[in-house]
Structure formats: structure tokens, C-alpha cells
């Protein structure tokens, strides 16, 4: 019989700052050496659960607790955060924000420094731990020089230096990682588990990516309660995930759309283990919708943005290397590629934030080389990933009006245009609200509105859906689609392959500053060469199609996407 290491017993927690409890009457036991995945939509209480385990609740975030939480048999109420952090090691979500040391070695050593380990011994332990996660060749690197995957290793090593820790808690380890790096991160966690047999608890809403490695159990949290606690196979065979609006693996969803019964015995946890009967294969080949259609093609043939041989260098290094492409009016295009491939830089160069050394950029057949940021803003608007970087006013109305006020319009004109924009963005009912009262997704909408009000014909968005669950993600994307239908050309940067697959006809793939592909998302995600070069991941829909012996896997994928969008629209 395995020892329980974590026991929630009728546990309820309410933050002082909130009126409703975030965790309600929770019962949950996790055993020694288990690998457990915790999933749930935004605000479900899954982050609170993690905070209870590592002690941030109640030491940093205050609130009221009732019931019991025992870690290794000791009630946490009787412990302090330092004792807790010796039992539960946490790898935080923000890969950049959590680094304290400047170099790899120093950051790994942080806990040891605080534990008064002598320097000689400390260097030995750090060296040993670095080897464990394979980062020992970069010991003197500054954190900024590392790739996303290497950063993940450093943060893991920083927790593992403390050998007493035998529960590892990962808070959304896959956020901000490109698909291939995410895959390696999961494999690393699996290796650590095999080597050390520590208990692994992971919070993550990208289930398909997390299930790249086997888990013992998945716990689904919704509205503060546990709605499921079962094996991945059993969970994927049920309808629980779609009921709480969490994205299930694409292949199981495809099976369900095709009216195929998914059972636990089929081992649906991973596409490689999935058994498909002949009957299922036949069902998959049936068309789902008679009126199946791909996204509407742009109507106009007019080129709004023409980038020709543009090069941008920094410190003698080419960040953008002779890139050319054209965007037609009314298109919706994704820019994808690995972390640091030059995606954001390209957008900044287009908006005039950075000066390109070679090539030409034209808006509506006009060369814009000498145009200032402000002048370019009439044609192209740029929305940052973090809305807090853009908001400078207290009230929504003022924030959206800011750009117009600067342009010296009359009060009447401003009011009219702001109201119109707020209506388009679905923010009109909130026009007199303070921004601080809004949710993350709504704030993001305010920033889009504040750019949109200036009437740009092109909108560039950096990761429009980052940090949002499937429901908010769908809302955001449908909103962008509405804007797009009204004639605004939309370009967005993303790591989310499904987002690209689902909402665009075309994607630009960047790798090391070069444009390596400019074609339909379906073609990109089925091309192994591009996938490898740009750190992407093949869609499991393709694997499913191949597994079922289909001759036209791309048609199958397109059909799936068309159907999926229809289904999701019904939520709103």
C-alpha cells in the first residue's frame, strides 16, 4: 500500500479579497510517487489548489480555511512556508519572472545559499543537479542567453537541488513554450520521475501536450470542486472535459464528432496507444457536414502590406534576414516559429518601432521608410501580449479615447468614435467602468479597442489568446473574426498550433530570422521538414488520419476544423 503524501479533507478556502470560496469542500488524496495532472478552466480553483500545496496560501495570499490539508501526514496549518517548501518544490509558470540569480549556476544555487550550505559543497551539488537536467554545459550563461527549454531546465534544477523535496509541483510548465520545446519539457519531467520517483503534480490546461508522457490520474477542477478524478484513458472516454470547456485532445474530439464511441479500452491517452477498430475507421471516413466549408477567402485582391527583402540587425546579428511577403486586404494570417525566431521583431519593424537596414515595406503601395511610428499607426496597429503594458488610464472610456484626444479631435467626434468602437468590441455596457474591475480577457479587449479607434486597416496582435482558457480563447478569436469580416486585416503571432489551424488560411513560419514557409496551416503542420526547423509539432489529427488509413488526411483535418468551429459557436 502506497503512502498518501497529500490529503485534502473537506477542505474549503476563501481569499480575503473575494466573496466566494475558491475551493469548496474538497477531498483529494495523492500518493507517493504518483504523477497527477490537474486541469480546469480559468477561475476553477486549480491555481489556488497549487498555492495551498506550496504555502503561498495562506502565507502570501491570505484567506480563511476550514477542513484539513495534510502533507506527508502533517497538517499544513501547523507549518510555515519554509518547512512546506522543503517538502513541496514549485516550478512556477512564468519562465522569466522566477529567476533570481543572473547566471545558470547562481540561480540553481539559490535555495542552497538560503540554507547556509558552504560554498564548496554548494558548487558540487549545483554541478550534480545541473547534470541531472542536462544544463551543466551552460553553467556560466546569463539567463537571458537561454532558450525557452533551457530556462525550464534551470528552474527545475533550482527546485531539485534540495534533495529532501520529494513532491514536485509544476504550475503550467507549457505556457510560453513553442510546441517542440513543450514536448522536450514533458520528456524531461518524465525522466526526472523515472530517475528519482518523486511525486509529480502538474497544473496544465493543454491536456494533449501534457499527455505526451503517461500520467496516473487526471483531476478535473471546476468552480472550486473536483468533478473528476480518474485515469487519463477513462477521462478521455467521458464527456467531462467538453462539459467544463477544456480542450480535449484533437484526436478524441475527432472520434467523437464522427459519432465513434471512445472507450477506456481503446487507450485514448496517447495517439500512439490508441486502438482503432475497422468499424471506427469506416466511421471516420464519413463526412460530418454536408455544407462543410473552409474559412472564407479574402474578397479583395488589393495588397495592404508588401514586405520586400527586409533585413534588421542588432549587434551585427541578423534578427530578420531578408524577409518578403505580401498581405492582401481582409486576410487573417498567423506568424509562427520557435521562441526567439524574430516574430515580435518583425512586427515591430513593420510598425516602425525598429528601423530596418535593407528592403522596403509598403502600405497600400506607398513606401513607408521615412514615416514615423505615429504616421504608420494610421495604417497598422500593434497590440502587445501583456495588456498591462498598454493601459495608462483609470477609466475605460478615457483609455480608448486617448489616441483621439492626442489627435486633437473635437469632443463630439471623439465620443462618437469611442462609443462605436466600444460597441464593436462588446465593451459598450462597461464604458463608465474602471479598467481595474475587468477580467484579463476584457482588459485585452480594451487595448484592442484603444488601437482600433484609430482606424488602422491592419491589426497585429502578439499572442492574443495567451493565458486564456478555451472559452475565453474562443470569445477572443470570434471577436477578431468579426473585426476581420468588417474588413480589417489581422496578423497574429502565436505558439498555439490549433489557433492557427482553426482561424487562418495562411501562416508565415519564421526560423532564425528567415521566412521558411508561407502557406496553408494544414500544409505546414503536415510537413515534417518545416515542423523540425521551426520547433513545431505535427497535429495529432494527421496521425489519426494516417492511422485510419485515409488517403486524404488534409481534407479530414479541414473538415474537423470546420465542424469544431460550428460546435463551439453554440456556447456563446
Amino acid at each position: 500500500m502506497k503512502q498518501p503524501v497529500i490529503q485534502f479533507e473537506q477542505f474549503t478556502f476563501k481569499y480575503h479579497s473575494q466573496t466566494e470560496p475558491s475551493l469548496i469542500d474538497m477531498d483529494l488524496t495523492i500518493y507517493e510517487g504518483e504523477k497527477v495532472l490537474i486541469v480546469g478552466p480559468s477561475g476553477s480553483g486549480k491555481s489556488t489548489l497549487a498555492h495551498c500545496l506550496n504555502g503561498l496560501v495562506p502565507f502570501s495570499y491570505k484567506g480563511n480555511m476550514t477542513g484539513n490539508l495534510l502533507i506527508k501526514g502533517t497538517p499544513t496549518a501547523s507549518l510555515d512556508i519554509f518547512t512546506l517548501s522543503k517538502m513541496v518544490g514549485t516550478v512556477l509558470q512564468d519562465t522569466d519572472g522566477q529567476f533570481i540569480g543572473l547566471s545558470v549556476g547562481e540561480d540553481i544555487a539559490f535555495t542552497l545559499e538560503n540554507e547556509l550550505v558552504p560554498q564548496k559543497k554548494m558548487h558540487d551539488i549545483v554541478e550534480k543537479t545541473a547534470k541531472l537536467v542536462d544544463i551543466h554545459h551552460q553553467m556560466n550563461y546569463s539567463i537571458h542567453e537561454l532558450s525557452g527549454g533551457q530556462k525550464q531546465r534551470v528552474s527545475l534544477a533550482g527546485v531539485m537541488v534540495d534533495e529532501e523535496i520529494d513532491i514536485l509541483l509544476f504550475d503550467e510548465p507549457l505556457a510560453n513554450l513553442d510546441p517542440a520545446t513543450g514536448k522536450y519539457a514533458m520528456e524531461l519531467i518524465e525522466r526526472v520521475h523515472t530517475d528519482t520517483n518523486k511525486t509529480i503534480i502538474m497544473i496544465e490546461h493543454r491536456i494533449e501536450d501534457a499527455l505526451h508522457i503517461p500520467f496516473d490520474r487526471i483531476i478535473v477542477v471546476n468552480e472550486g470542486c473536483i468533478v473528476a478524478d480518474m485515469t487519463p484513458d477513462a477521462l478521455l472516454a467521458s464527456d467531462i472535459l467538453s462539459d467544463v470547456h477544456i480542450r480535449e485532445p484533437l484526436y478524441t474530439k475527432a472520434l467523437k464528432y464522427h459519432q465513434c464511441l471512445v472507450t477506456e479500452e481503446m487507450q485514448p491517452a496517447h495517439i500512439d496507444t490508441l486502438h482503432i477498430s475497422n468499424q471506427t475507421k469506416l466511421a471516420l471516413q464519413q463526412k460530418m457536414d454536408e455544407d462543410f466549408s473552409t474559412l472564407t477567402q479574402p474578397r479583395a485582391n488589393h495588397t495592404v502590406l508588401d514586405v520586400k527583402d527586409v533585413t534588421f540587425s542588432y549587434d551585427k546579428k541578423k534578427i530578420i534576414d531578408s524577409i518578403s511577403f505580401q498581405i492582401k486586404a481582409g486576410e487573417m494570417v498567423a506568424i509562427i516559429g520557435k521562441n526567439g525566431a524574430g516574430k515580435s521583431t518583425l512586427s515591430k519593424v513593420i510598425c516602425g518601432f525598429e528601423k530596418y537596414s535593407d528592403g522596403t515595406i509598403m502600405f497600400h503601395d506607398q513606401d513607408i521608410r521615412d514615416k514615423t511610428i505615429f504616421e504608420r499607426a494610421k495604417h497598422v496597429g500593434y497590440v502587445l501580449q501583456n495588456p498591462n503594458h498598454m493601459i495608462s488610464k483609470h477609466m475605460i472610456y478615457d483609455e480608448v479615447a486617448l489616441g483621439l484626444v492626442q489627435r486633437g479631435l473635437t469632443e463630439e467626434e471623439i465620443k462618437e468614435r469611442v462609443y462605436e468602437t466600444l460597441r464593436i468590441c462588446g465593451l459598450y455596457p462597461y464604458r463608465n467602468w474602471p479598467i481595474s474591475a475587468l477580467s484579463f480577457g476584457q482588459k485585452k479587449r480594451v487595448t484592442i479597442a484603444s488601437i482600433l479607434v484609430l482606424n488602422p486597416s491592419i491589426l497585429i496582435l502578439d499572442e492574443p489568446t495567451a493565458g486564456q482558457d478555451l472559452r475565453h480563447y474562443t470569445e477572443m478569436m470570434e471577436f477578431l473574426l468579426t473585426l476581420n469580416r468588417q474588413g480589417i486585416t489581422i496578423i497574429f503571432i502565436t505558439h498555439d498550433m490549433h489557433l492557427m489551424l482553426e482561424y487562418t488560411n495562411r501562416a508565415l513560419v519564421l526560423a532564425d530570422g528567415k521566412l521558411i514557409a508561407d502557406k496553408a496551416p494544414v500544409d505546414i503542420l503536415t510537413d515534417d521538414q518545416i515542423i523540425a526547423k521551426a520547433n513545431l509539432k505535427r497535429t495529432s489529427l494527421f496521425d489519426l488520419a494516417i492511422k485510419s488509413g485515409m488517403t486524404h488526411p488534409k481534407a479530414f483535418i479541414e473538415q474537423f476544423i470546420s465542424h469544431d468551429r460550428k460546435v463551439r459557436k453554440t456556447w456563446q
Binding site: Q98, T111, L116, Q119
Partner: protein, 276 residues
């Protein structure tokens, strides 16, 4: 990305970089003590030449720090003007003589003594500025905390200073991005705009900067707490470097020079060198 690294650590291979943080801190303290105490022009001139030599040794380029230097020089100029406005006869009373060069008004005469006095003040700045800048840009922020701790400052204070220094480049990057995005909305910071409006526009950039920095602070303080920061009253340091021969030698020379300069300054009972 022009001024990304203002007052941040600049990595070079030089004897100055090789010195341990503690030695540099001690030398810097000695250096500023003498520079603050003495008005002896001979001492100040020697120190100034020495600081130029050390600066050369450090391989730090003028462009890398020019912005900060100009910034400080601006205040130096202000300071000089203020001294003259409030105390135009200071030099006369110190040196007990008066060589009037010309007269502007009854109160504001220009004397050789006053000019000499203000020259000394300026020289003091020129002695301290390179030393302070060199200390900051050649000491790795992580070693910085360790050095402060070693001379008796509590590690939490040392860590706070070192983290603040460390975040300067990050915050500069944020500032740049925010400024650019706001510029697109017509918030202009360039000198095309009137000064009053520019100041107002700065607020539009500072607000988001403050809020995003607060987010940063919350994340980092959680991360630190989860990794046992503050558990004990002491801590050890990964990047503390043991003192080498070079350190001992430099410390010895600096201390001797310090004593020598102190003697020169104080031997005649006044801190001023009087050529008149």
C-alpha cells in the same frame, strides 16, 4: 535598442573585473571618503589621473557610460551655479585673500579664489564619478550583494540593491516597448512636443511601467519565498569570490595611498591647499 544597458554590469576581461567585489567596494569607500574630505588640489589631481588610469585598465568604453556621465555633469553645472549664486565670496573667506578679476555687481564679483574653490569642487566630482561608475559597471550584481553582506550589511538589503540593479535593463526594455506603443497612439516624447505636454505624456508611460513592475515584484518575491529566502539570519553566496593576491596587493596599495593622502590633507591643519 540603443541604450539598453544604462548602469548595468558590463562584462569585460580586465584586471578591474578580476578584483573581488569586496575589494572594489572597500576601495570605493576609501576613495570616496578621501575625495569628500579633501580640498587639496594636489591630492584631487592625483586621484583624478589615477581614476583615468583605472578607467583605461577596465576596458570600459566611454560610449557605454557617456549618458550617465552627461546626466551627472548637468547636475554638477547646476551645483556650481548655485554655489556662486548663494556664496560668491566663499573662496575669499577660505583662502583669506582676494584677487578680483572683474566685477558684475557689488555682491557678485568674480575672484580668482572663488574660481579656484569651485574648480576644486568640480574636481571632487570628477574624482568620484569614474570610481562610482566603475564600481557599478564592473561588479557583477550577484557579487555585489555578497560584497555588501561581507562588510556587514544585512543580506536582505544587499539582495534588494542587487535585484534592483539587475532589473534596470529589464525595466528599460519595458519602458521602450511601452513608449513605442504609446507613440503609435500619438503620445509624443520627442522635443517636437511642448514641455508641459511632454511631462504629461511621460505619465502615460510611467503608469503602465509601474503596474507591470509591481507584477514582476509579486512574481519574484513569491519565487524567492518558495526557495527559502529569509529563512535564516545569514546566508552563503554561490558567486562570492575568495580574495586573491591581486586583491591583497590592490587593497594594500589603496590603504597606503589613503593614509598618505590623509596626511597630505590634514598635516597643515586645513583641508584646503592654498596657492595664494
Amino acid at each position: 535598442m540603443a541604450v539598453t544597458n544604462m548602469l548595468g554590469y558590463i562584462d569585460k576581461q580586465s584586471p578591474v573585473h578580476k578584483l573581488s567585489g569586496v575589494s572594489k567596494l572597500i576601495i570605493f569607500l576609501l576613495w570616496s571618503t578621501i575625495a569628500m574630505l579633501t580640498y587639496d588640489t594636489r591630492v584631487l589631481l592625483i586621484l583624478f589621473v589615477l581614476s583615468l588610469v583605472v578607467f583605461k585598465l577596465s576596458k570600459i568604453k566611454w560610449q557605454e557610460i557617456s549618458f550617465v556621465v552627461w546626466f551627472i555633469l548637468f547636475f554638477l553645472a547646476l551645483n556650481n551655479v548655485a554655489i556662486y549664486l548663494f556664496s560668491p565670496e566663499e573662496g575669499v573667506s577660505i583662502y583669506n585673500s582676494s584677487h578680483v578679476l572683474f566685477e558684475m555687481t557689488n555682491r557678485y564679483t568674480v575672484t580668482l579664489e572663488q574660481l579656484f574653490y569651485q574648480f576644486n569642487i568640480t574636481l571632487k566630482y570628477f574624482v568620484v564619478i569614474p570610481a562610482a561608475l566603475l564600481f557599478i559597471v564592473t561588479t557583477h550584481p550577484s557579487e555585489f550583494a555578497a560584497s555588501l553582506n561581507k562588510i556587514g550589511v544585512h543580506y536582505k538589503i544587499g539582495m534588494a540593491i542587487s535585484l534592483a540593479l539587475r532589473y534596470i535593463p529589464d525595466i528599460q526594455r519595458d519602458f521602450r516597448t511601452i513608449a513605442q506603443v504609446q507613440q503609435a497612439r500619438g503620445i509624443d516624447l520627442s522635443n517636437k512636443e511642448k514641455l508641459t505636454k511632454r511631462l504629461k505624456n511621460v505619465v502615460a508611460i510611467i503608469m503602465p511601467l509601474i503596474f507591470s513592475s509591481l507584477d514582476r515584484i509579486e512574481t519574484i518575491s513569491n519565487a524567492m519565498e518558495l526557495r527559502s529566502f529569509g529563512k535564516h539570519n545569514k546566508r552563503t553566496w554561490y558567486s562570492e569570490r575568495p580574495l586573491t593576491k591581486l586583491d591583497y596587493l590592490t587593497l594594500l596599495i589603496s590603504s597606503l595611498l589613503f593614509i598618505l593622502f590623509m596626511i597630505i590633507t590634514f598635516h597643515d591643519g586645513t583641508r584646503f591647499y592654498n596657492p595664494f
